[in-house]
Subunit: 137 residues, 2 copies
Amino acid sequence: MIRGIDHVAIAVENIDETLAMFKNTLGLEALHREVIAGYGVEVATIRLGPTTIELVQGTTPDSPITKYIEKRGPGIHHIALEVDDIAAELARLKAGGAELIDATPRTGKEESRVAFIHPRSTGKVLYELVQNKTPKR
Amino acid sequence: MIRGIDHVAIAVENIDETLAMFKNTLGLEALHREVIAGYGVEVATIRLGPTTIELVQGTTPDSPITKYIEKRGPGIHHIALEVDDIAAELARLKAGGAELIDATPRTGKEESRVAFIHPRSTGKVLYELVQNKTPKR
């Protein structure tokens, strides 16, 4: 079951500069920062309550975020939906004919389990499913 | 003060088709639907808790959403931040040198007061400030 929006991810060129903008312009600070080597990204979570903004910078030339920015420029990258049982949700989506980028969950930040749904199945928007180690809601 | 993410807006070509995708693929239903004539848009809010997904379809050829889709295609359009005092927030942003699309608030859905910040001031992402008639948080 989808419980709510976990985070909205923004692809950024420079995570430090974007964090400075969040602080100076919007008055919002980072809550958590982590390199996720398996995805070739560094992420910073903005402190905003149960639904956060997540800044994502590519750390390698072949990172999906590096490639996304080369093609489209920085901007909002995906919407992550918190689920209580990611395996059940993926099975339900697959049975319904949705195209999955990750057929089985991968490890995300803070030991979450995550999987992406292909934008072809969702009206051109990239959605991530997240099962948090400690549910937020 | 920014209280949290009010909604994430997705520019769509056909709100009925996107609502059908949300129901059939993601298992999520609409909570509210409204035409906002002043913006040339129809919006549908997806039931997701305090932070919602808002589908936005242009209703006129010169609607900002119609033009956005012509240029970039459908996709995630902006992030709306809920504030407790939009006039104070706009004054703070202006004093800090941020470029505002709306120097004074306009009327949004469900009698909210809304204003957009120019992406030039926020690292290429469009943010909306929303002061809800009934605060969500």
